[in-house]
């Protein structure tokens, strides 16, 4: 019988007025990576905090390696590694001192801790900066050191809370490579991310949460297939309410309007001759069109569909502008 290494059942947690988790279920089998995906404030970090014994749930059950996190937190701590969103490093210690401290506090002897620190500093390309104080590290170096710290005691279960948020593409690749190496060694990983691309690249399974609830639990491929709808993108020469109405008649859901009314997006049923009928319909309505695009849904589209198009504060790729573009004003929704 093989039990899941991470088990979460009907987990709830409230912080004051905010229902951070409103009954969340998911599980991760041994040696697999689960991508926990959701906008800011969806409850990803809260779920990780409960599983890493940092927060107590209000109700429900959470277990790591078969051990209940509420009843036996000390035993859970011996089996987990954690890299948190706000890098959990000592800014006044050097990179090496940070790793050795974590090793010693994990119960490793000092010599063993030093050897392991040397190994990890090499793996994460931090050897050159090993004896510099972390305060002077770049954001990418801190994240890499934080992930390295979580691996000091070779934990069989690893929690990575947005390990690549704010990293440049090269640093992100390095973290991804490290995660893949761990998976090859049999480590079980729960990774939270706002990047669909990241979940797609690493996860065996993706759980999408929004406002404290699971809105999807599937493989990356399954998620894409679940959204059969094709994606229609229309770029107008000038904003037009007629165009919105026309697209709404063909769309299977809401029409998202962005770029000052010039860009319309919607899910559509992929029937034969779709593009032709769209262009004709728009032409009949007297709308001048710059561009029409019909494509297969990306994981982004699935995500937007599942989370209702709202995306916390700022999308990862285009902070600021992306927020407004992704969130169609209610008034123009068909």
């Amino acid at each position: 019988m093989s039990r899941d290494v991470i088990e979460v059942e009907a987990l709830t947690k409230r912080y004051g007025e905010t229902q951070a988790l409103a009954g969340v279920d998911f599980s991760v089998p041994a040696g697999k990576l689960l991508g926990l995906l959701g906008p800011n404030g969806a409850g990803k970090t809260t779920a990780v905090r409960v599983l890493t014994t940092l927060a107590l749930p209000d109700s429900g059950r959470a277990a790591v390696a078969g051990i209940d996190v509420v009843r036996h937190p000390a035993q859970v701590r011996r089996r987990i590694g954690m890299a948190a969103q706000d890098a959990t490093l000592d800014r006044l210690l050097t990179g090496r001192q940070n790793l050795v401290l974590v090793g010693e506090l994990s119960g490793m002897g000092r010599r063993l801790a030093r050897a392991r620190a040397r190994e990890l500093l090499g793996q994460f390309e931090l050897t050159g900066a090993a004896d510099r104080v972390v305060n002077g590290y770049s954001g990418g170096m801190r994240r890499r050191l934080d992930v390295a710290a979580s691996l000091m005691a070779r934990p069989p279960v690893l929690f990575l809370d947005e390990p690549t948020t704010g990293l440049d593409p090269a640093s992100r690749q390095r973290v991804w490579e490290a995660v893949r190496r761990l998976l090859a060694e049999g480590v079980t990983v729960l990774l939270t991310t706002q990047y669909l691309e990241e979940a797609d690249a690493l996860a065996d399974r993706i759980v999408v949460i929004d406002r404290g609830r699971v809105v999807a639990d599937d493989t990356p491929q399954g998620l894409k297939e679940a959204s059969r709808d094709a994606r229609l993108e229309v770029t107008l020469t000038a904003p037009s309410p007629d165009a919105v109405a026309t697209v709404a008649r063909l769309a299977s859901g809401a029409v998202e309007v962005s770029d000052g009314g010039r860009r319309l997006g919607a899910g559509v049923d992929p029937v034969p001759g779709l593009a032709t009928s769209i262009v004709r319909a728009l032409d009949r309505a007297g709308v001048v069109v710059d561009n029409v695009e019909v494509r297969q849904p990306s994981l982004d589209d699935v995500f937007f569909a599942l989370t209702g198009g709202h995306l916390g504060d700022g999308t990862p790729d285009e902070p600021g502008s992306g927020h407004r573009a992704g969130q169609a004003p209610e008034g123009v929704r068909a």
Binding site: S2, R3, V5, L56, L89, S106, A153, P156
Partner: protein
């Protein structure tokens, strides 16, 4: 196959057993103490309250007040040195609360909490690292005293005992400081609350001036102030002028015993309270 074995990664996992008995907490405390000592060495300006301040205070008090405050059967410089030791150590203790408060505001506290370590080593390690700086402070006060003409009149064991009495008291105060730090929203508020706790404690005492000339009610407070007890205790152990010996209040008649008892009492109350506050503060 059980979950535990299926979860174990390939390759030998280093031993991360909890350790047996008392050995593991001691190792955790030692690791945390070293960590805090590294912090101190990184920001040496923070050490000024145990290095520059003692020299400054001792010299100022001896040269400015020395002429104006008559001490029966002795010189002000011999009287005030125990007071300078108390004053400098007592005012340094609140830094412990400020440091703990900043730890609580850094992500590092989450790392500690998710590690299989003895949690209280966060507190014990900090208090011990700060105790190390108190030793430095005591040394500097003693040397400055010798330069300005302070002379103890007692055996070596007794002199060391005087220093130990005040150091033990300062150590007990670090636990009050940590309670303040654990109750503060920010390191800044820990600093200002700490000042309000410590300043009257240090001033309303016999540290800088004999209590005989204080108004009646203030004098009672001063004579029962633990700072007065340890200061009078140090004077007695150093063989320095100790005008408090003429006061009938019990702590002034038995200053060494009273000072040690005060310190033990503060430690016995503040340490469990700090541990409780820490648990409460880090539970969400």
């Amino acid at each position: 196959m059980t979950a535990a074995t299926s979860a174990a990664p390939a390759g030998a996992a280093p031993s991360r057993e909890p350790g047996t008995g008392i050995a593991r907490p001691i190792r955790d405390v030692w690791a945390m103490t070293r960590r805090n000592l590294v912090h101190i060495s990184r920001e040496p300006t923070q050490l000024s309250d145990v290095t520059v301040q003692p020299v400054l205070f001792t010299a100022l008090f001896v040269y400015i007040f020395g002429g104006g405050i008559p001490i029966p059967h002795g010189a002000y410089k011999d009287f005030v040195l125990a007071g300078m030791l108390s004053l400098n150590l007592v005012t340094s203790t609140m830094g412990t609360g400020v440091g703990l408060s900043s730890d609580l505001h850094e992500g590092i506290i989450n790392r500690f909490r998710a590690l299989p370590m003895w949690r209280a080593s966060v507190l014990v390690g900090r208090s011990l690292a700060d105790l190390a700086t108190f030793f430095l402070c005591a040394l500097i006060v003693g040397l400055t005293g010798l330069v300005v003409g302070w002379r103890p009149d007692a055996g070596l064991g007794s002199i060391v005992g005087g220093f130990a009495l005040v150091l033990f008291f300062a150590y007990s105060l670090t636990w009050i400081a940590m309670c303040v730090g654990l109750n503060s929203k920010s390191p800044e508020s820990a600093a200002s609350v700490g000042f309000i706790v410590v300043f009257p404690l240090a001033i309303v005492s016999n540290a800088m001036i004999p209590t005989q000339h204080m108004p009646g009610w203030l004098r009672v407070v001063a004579d029962w102030n633990p700072v007065s007890a340890v200061t009078a205790g140090a004077r007695q152990l150093w063989g320095n002028p100790n005008p408090s010996a003429a006061i009938s209040a019990w702590p002034m008649q038995h200053p060494v015993l009273a000072g040690a008892a005060w310190s033990a009492f503060i430690l016995a109350v503040a340490a469990p309270f700090a541990a409780w506050l820490f648990r409460r503060r880090t539970t969400e």
